[in-house]
């Protein structure tokens, strides 16, 4: 498991008040308590704070799993333009 993956799951366990064991790479929005639409925006905000990665709304909408988020965090950052 990558460092990003481990750090993300710890962040999510803290944010959604669950055990990291409940989170697998295929866990997606709606699979755990609190990961609703507002929880999703909160998660994107926390990722920006802890990883310094801005996830555009268009990408955030298409997130289907933790594995998707890891891919976004690990890809090169886009500029605003």
């Amino acid at each position: 498991m990558s460092e990003t993956n481990t750090k993300l799951k710890a962040l999510m366990a803290d944010l959604f008040k669950c055990s990291p064991d409940e989170l697998s790479d295929s866990t997606g929005p709606g699979d755990i308590n609190g990961w609703d639409s507002l929880g999703h925006v909160s998660l994107m905000a926390e990722i920006q704070k802890q990883f310094g990665t801005h996830i555009p709304v268009e990408d955030a909408i298409e997130v289907e799993s933790i594995a998707d988020i890891v891919k976004i965090i690990d890809r090169p950052q886009e500029s605003h333009a």
């Binding site: 639409s37 507002l38 909160s42 905000a45 555009p56 709304v57 298409e62 289907e64 605003h80 333009a81």
Partner: protein, 422 residues
Amino acid sequence: MSPAVEPVWTPASPGTDFAGQLAALRSAPRQASAGVNERLAALHGLSEALLSGAGNLREGLPADGLAFLSAFLREDNLRSLIAREVPAPDALSQFVAIGPRKSLRLLPRGLVCHWVAGNVPLLAVFSWAVSAALGNANAIRLSSRQGDVMSPLLRSLAAQSPVGRIISDETLVVTFDRNHTEAQHAMSLAADVRIAWGGRDAVDAIRGLPTRWDCEDVVFGPRMSMAVIDPAVIKPTAVTRLVTDIVIFDQLACSSPQVVFVKGVPDEAGFDAFMGLFQEAFARQSAAFRRHGLDFAETFRISLDRSRAILSGGTVLRDGGTQWTVAIMAAPADGIDCANRFVQVVPYQSLDEIYPFVPENAQTCVVQLPPQDLAAFSEQAAWRGVCRFPNPGEGNHFENPWDGIGLVSRLTRFVVRSEAGR
């Protein structure tokens, strides 16, 4: 103040009456006010406050809109929104070279007056946030049919930081009857920019008010939206997102699809598989997103339109009550009111079959097509009036441009300077 103008949020140093308040807002010196970076940071702070739920900020705001709003107010989102339209966003802070000979500076236009439709109250917040970020003062007339979505936000903003205080002090929120001629005229005559949200009657009434000769008009009027889907390239999760675009604001938003064109023919495997997923998603998402309570007329209209669809040769898929309806039709039926989670599905085999049905007031077309089809369809449909081609799930995300209008250029003055010594 005229007794029929109800103040909702009043700046710190108001004038003596409504016209006086507007005049004070318009004439307040903007130059010494906060810069765009500080303003974006303050609005970002408001997003943080929405996410944390601090100070009961979420009360009075529609739950389904909270995620939209908090995502919209993020600094990165607002910067992207500006950068999408302006070649040199730094021009909002200083003169910036645009080529070897010229520099550009963007300045706020002054007082932006917003007339907000009652159907989607959060729209006021979107246009206000962009306007405030760009340094304008704002006067907002809320519809008497809607709750006050602005005061909790402005109160939070004012308490958050000195710049938040500046923005809230530059904002006046009122409500008055649409027939209050004196108030309508006062607001219109004070405006450097008028932003009108609403149906045909509402926007026509606002456009007919007297105004300054140089006032800029931004009209977000009655629009219609649709979707075009190729079952061969849509994933089940995207079907759910498409249905969310339809159900989340009960099709009260202009950007909610009313007709979905689906490639294929009924009884063909690909088409039927899509319809199965579509139907399941409707049942699931209709339960997930609470709907406003239907009145008798709305309930009756759904039953009537189901009958009309069947009598027109259509097939109606529906729940046991009036929660959702999918009518599979050979062609879109004009007499059917696609509202309150009632959508028409029209099969197609060639994209050419769709173009005659693109209305001239088309706004959004949610698409999921193979790349070559997307390129061909978007070019043709854009010429017929479509302004946006978002992916499923993005249909109702307010973005810039909206309705084909670039908000930043409408809300700022573009100042050009030749470089010295040239």
